[in-house]
């Protein structure tokens, strides 16, 4: 069997490469990390992801794949050992893909929109963000994980919530996720945060806080009336 060469381009802070790390770790696939400084993109990153120049990029035996959810499906199809990340049933798979897309297209931008605002603007931004989180609460009801009994594709897709919501809330000094109103989601976040493999992967929290403080400050200054 040909020796496998698996490399993963990541930055220290971006949550999207984490999805791929979780998948590779869960399946026990050895890989090499190539750390990228996104403020100073290397020619290697441009070579492997010329279209978007973003992380993550998976390079498997010299061939590159970009876009984290696309990479997750590639990992699932290439390394068929357990645990399987996606369900067998096409309808269940379509549901996981649908909700993962909802997460990236709606949940994340709406939370980001709360994070970069303040005052009345932030209050207004809270409404769609909290509606989106309520949808996730309903999706989870009665289940331990989004994918069912154990961590799967949809949990990996939503995994960033487990870490980033509390970071955002600490930096902006406001609560967007009400634990009382969203008990299933809160429980899931705690379980996912502390799960084996997952818990070792989080970037250093203090560094994340500092970085997010700077990001929020920059956005608020940009919006300030001149």
């Amino acid at each position: 069997m040909m020796a496998e060469e698996v490399k993963l381009f990541r930055s220290w802070s971006s949550p999207f490469p984490l999805r791929v790390i979780w998948a590779l770790e869960l399946k026990g696939i050895p890989y090499e990390v190539i750390l990228v400084d996104l403020s100073n993109k290397s020619s290697l990153l441009l070579q492997y992801n010329p279209i978007h120049m973003k992380v993550p990029v998976l390079v498997h035996n010299g061939k590159s794949i970009a876009e984290s959810l696309v990479i997750l499906e590639y990992v699932e199809e290439t390394w068929k050992q357990t645990p399987s990340l996606l369900p067998e049933d096409p309808y269940e798979r379509a549901m996981e893909r649908f909700w993962a897309k909802f997460g990236d297209d709606k949940v994340l931008p709406s939370l980001w929109n709360v994070f970069i605002k303040q005052g009345k603007d932030q209050e207004e931004a809270m409404v769609p963000a909290q509606e989106n989180l309520t949808n996730l609460e309903e999706l989870l009801r009665g289940k331990n994980f989004f994918s069912g009994e154990r961590i799967g594709f949809l949990d990996l897709a939503f995994g960033w919530l487990a870490n980033m919501v509390s970071v955002f809330e600490e930096v902006m000094g406001a609560t967007v996720l009400d634990n009382q109103k969203l008990p299933s989601l809160s429980a899931w976040m705690k379980n996912f945060m502390d799960a084996p493999i997952i818990k070792e992967s989080w970037p250093p929290r203090d560094k994340l806080i500092t970085k997010c403080q700077a990001l929020r400050q920059a956005h608020i200054e940009k919006e300030a009336p001149k």
Binding site: I51, H60, K63, I65, A66, E67, V70, I71, E73, Y74, E77, T78, P90, Y91, R93, A94, R97, F98, K101, F102, N135
Partner: protein
């Protein structure tokens, strides 16, 4: 068991057209239901409560939403005929990447080409050609994005061809002049029955937009 397949759609939706092409490629019999974008049906609101948008495929009573997700679903359920995605995982990843690229880039910029004016429209026109030049680069000299056979990325993109006359009319440009390879590829796709029977006439799309 007899499959019951219903498609909730709008005739001019390039997203709905993707699903119609996929169903035609697979020879699936289905009931087409035209929704009303001015007055969304109870069925649509029930079947897609989150986004309230077409297309929605309802298979034996269960809804699937988001056109590219529906196309993958169709490929996985009716898997014995006309595969829409390649079988090799790396090729599948490339197909998904480029279909996502079409979704994330082409719709937004195309809309701005016909829906804006002045500087905003000029910027949109420039971006439109940048994006299509990237797509031309990806196509290269292959007959289809998938290679020798028509597939997922072709389905994702070709439906926009029915709106090209809209973009050209509002944008006052010729897509063929800038991107001849794309036009040649679109015409090649139109030779396929599933595409020819699905895509509405370009002038009809413009008329409908002007009269709405």
């Amino acid at each position: 068991m007899v499959d019951e397949v219903v498609l909730l759609d709008l005739w001019a939706s390039m997203f709905g057209m993707r699903v119609r092409i996929a169903l035609a490629e697979k020879g699936v019999k289905y009931e087409y239901m035209e929704d009303d974008w001015r007055n969304k049906s109870d069925l649509l609101l029930k079947m897609n409560p989150l986004h309230k948008k077409v297309p929605v495929l309802i298979h034996n009573g269960k809804p699937v939403c988001e056109s590219l997700i529906i196309v993958q679903y169709i490929d996985e359920v009716w898997k014995d005929k006309s595969p829409l995605l390649p079988s090799d995982p790396y090729q599948r990843a490339q197909a998904r990447f480029w279909a996502d690229f079409v979704d994330n880039k082409v719709y937004g910029v195309s809309r701005r080409v016909w829906a804006t004016k002045g500087e905003e429209q000029e910027a949109a026109k420039q971006e439109f050609f940048e994006i299509f030049k990237i797509l031309e680069g990806e196509l290269g000299d292959k007959p289809y994005f998938g290679g020798e056979t028509f597939g997922f990325v072709d389905i994702a993109l070709v439906t926009f061809y029915s709106w090209f006359y809209v973009y050209e009319t509002f944008g006052k440009f010729s897509i063929e002049a800038e991107c001849p390879t794309i036009i040649a590829w679109a015409k090649r796709c139109m030779q396929k029955e599933s595409v020819a029977k699905t895509l509405p006439d370009q002038k009809k799309v413009l008329e409908s937009l002007l009269s709405s």
